[in-house]
């Protein structure tokens, strides 16, 4: 793979090479023109990552980038390595070969203690929710703040704000076991978003949920992307999620309410890209429109079910 070396912070670099690198990055960047140099570094970058469990190859040379503020939808059948990929970003697993970069820093060989610092700016929503079942909804959402020793009044304020964001204020004193699947998923989202992470990773957040709840979760992701400038990876294999995320955007109207509008005359969404995985490799990377036009038989079958 042609690795684009984006070490723009290096003070020794001449401006000409910087320009070159910027245009190089711009080639596959959502943000062709940016003033903020920090934004040029991808939030997440995989370079030829390999991983095997025992004899089973799970990732086989995976490469991709997630730019700042971008939402990357990862599509792919069950067992193609999607969850593994996002666990690698957080260092919950380590690759056998290849590099993983976060904000331009190579985290591949970070120790667990170093990873803890990186994880501070990440929020992760696990496939099964992974709520702490011995803690109440309040304590689950407050987990990160309690660990940091934040005063309880502030914790309560933040927890209520987050539960309001996911529309679950009534469940504050419940235990995870008492919640439905959709509620559990939303508590997981609230927990991940406490502390304002810069990058959020959703692992099949809508799987097994009824369409309205699934829609609510997609709206949350859209709000994060458009109103909070969060980069994200959104793993799914449901095509309606893809169409929500790639064709709608969130805005705030005069009354201060969040509204969702379809892209069209006024605005064309460019900050959401699709990555399609198959057997541990990226077989497609690009926009939704390009995906629809792609004539790879596997992709066609994935999109249309036949």
């Amino acid at each position: 793979m042609a690795t684009t070396n984006l070490e723009v912070t290096d003070a020794a670099e001449t401006s000409s090479t910087e320009d070159l690198q910027v245009s190089d990055a711009a080639a596959d960047s959502t943000f062709a023109e940016v003033d903020d140099r920090e934004r040029i570094k991808p939030a997440i970058e995989f370079r030829d990552v390999h991983l095997a469990f025992d004899d089973r190859k799970v990732l086989d040379g995976l490469s991709f980038k997630v730019q700042r503020g971008e939402t990357k939808i990862i599509l792919g059948g069950s067992g193609c390595g999607k969850s593994t990929t996002i666990k690698l970003v957080l260092g919950l697993l380590k690759p056998d070969a290849g590099q993983i970069l976060v904000n331009g820093d190579d985290i591949t060989n970070y120790t667990e203690a170093e990873m803890m610092k990186v994880r501070k700016s990440f929020g992760m929503i696990f496939q099964e929710g992974a709520l702490f079942d011995s803690l109440s909804v309040y304590d689950n959402v407050a987990y990160r703040l309690h660990e940091q020793g934040v005063p309880e009044e502030e914790v309560e304020q933040e927890v209520r704000r987050m539960l309001h964001f996911v529309d679950l204020e009534d469940a504050i004193d419940k235990m995870p076991i008492e919640l439905s699947g959709g509620m559990r998923r939303r508590v997981g989202i609230a927990r991940a978003l406490v502390g304002g992470p810069e990058v959020v990773m959703f692992d099949e957040p809508t799987a097994g949920l009824d369409p309205p709840t699934a829609r609510t979760i997609c709206e949350l992701a859209i709000k994060l992307r458009d109103l909070e400038d969060v980069s994200s990876i959104f793993v799914t294999h449901e095509m309606n999620n893809v169409s929500y995320l790639t064709s709608e955007y969130a805005a705030v109207n005069e009354a201060g309410e969040v509204i969702f509008e379809k892209e069209g005359e006024r605005l064309c969404l460019t900050n959401t890209k699709v990555l399609m995985m198959r057997e541990g490799r990226a077989i497609f990377s690009g926009t939704d429109e390009q995906l629809q036009k792609n004539d790879d038989p596997y992709i066609k079958r994935f999109l249309h079910g036949r």
């Binding site: 666990k87 957080l90 919950l92 667990e112 803890m116 994880r119 501070k120 990440f122 992760m124 696990f126 496939q127 099964e128 992974a130 709520l131 702490f132 079942d133 987990y143 990160r144 660990e147 020793g149 927990r191």
Partner: protein, 256 residues
Amino acid sequence: MNIAIRSLLEVQETTLLVAQAARRLFRRPAYIPEAITQMDVIGVGSLPIILLTGFFTGGVLTLQTFPTLKYYGAQDQTGYLVALSLVRELGPVLTALMVTGRVGSAISAELGSMVVSQQIDAMRALGTDPVRKLVAPRILALLVTLPLLTVAADVIGIFGGGVVATTLYGMSSGTFLSSVRYGITFDDIIGGIIKPLIFGIIIGSIACNKGLQTEGGTVGVGRSTTSAVVTASIVVIVVDFFLAKALQVILDMPAS
């Protein structure tokens, strides 16, 4: 991989876990409340079964030794024998085995369920080190409570022995107690405290390690729980032998 290598690897892993837990015990934020909760769960929670089993063990010791001692005309020494067996061996080992069954299995099952439901991953993702938050408080709690439980088992065992001696065999409680006092030396008590300290580390580290190594869903939780209890019990009994020998040498106990 053959069994020898696998066991060696496991010993290594378990030892590393203890080392990590020990190092992280003193780093901030210290999980003192967690450790206290665990002491309550492990120590206070185990007290009833320890008292019950200790009482009957002491009782049965008297029941079995009194007739034999009487045959040799040494029935006055019943208290001595009961106390010695309890303080040196049965108290520490029995308590350790009971705690393994009750607490070791619970720790392993709890951590194992947390692994398979991805709560451990979630914890790490949220920036908490599970060794510090989960393993260290549990090992610390066992380290503190197991000696206390052992002492409780010793005392209630001697009491049980006394009850049987006085009620079934008509011994006077004075005779029983004075032979107990004659029987136990300071070294016995030291040995009886050192053993549970080491057993506490063994039970805690094996249970935590087995729990954290859980693989393969709900079935895996069952497997690691069984394995934790079996391994910890065997290791406790084997280590007890070598500890007994070592203590004999170190404390210069009569090797009779």
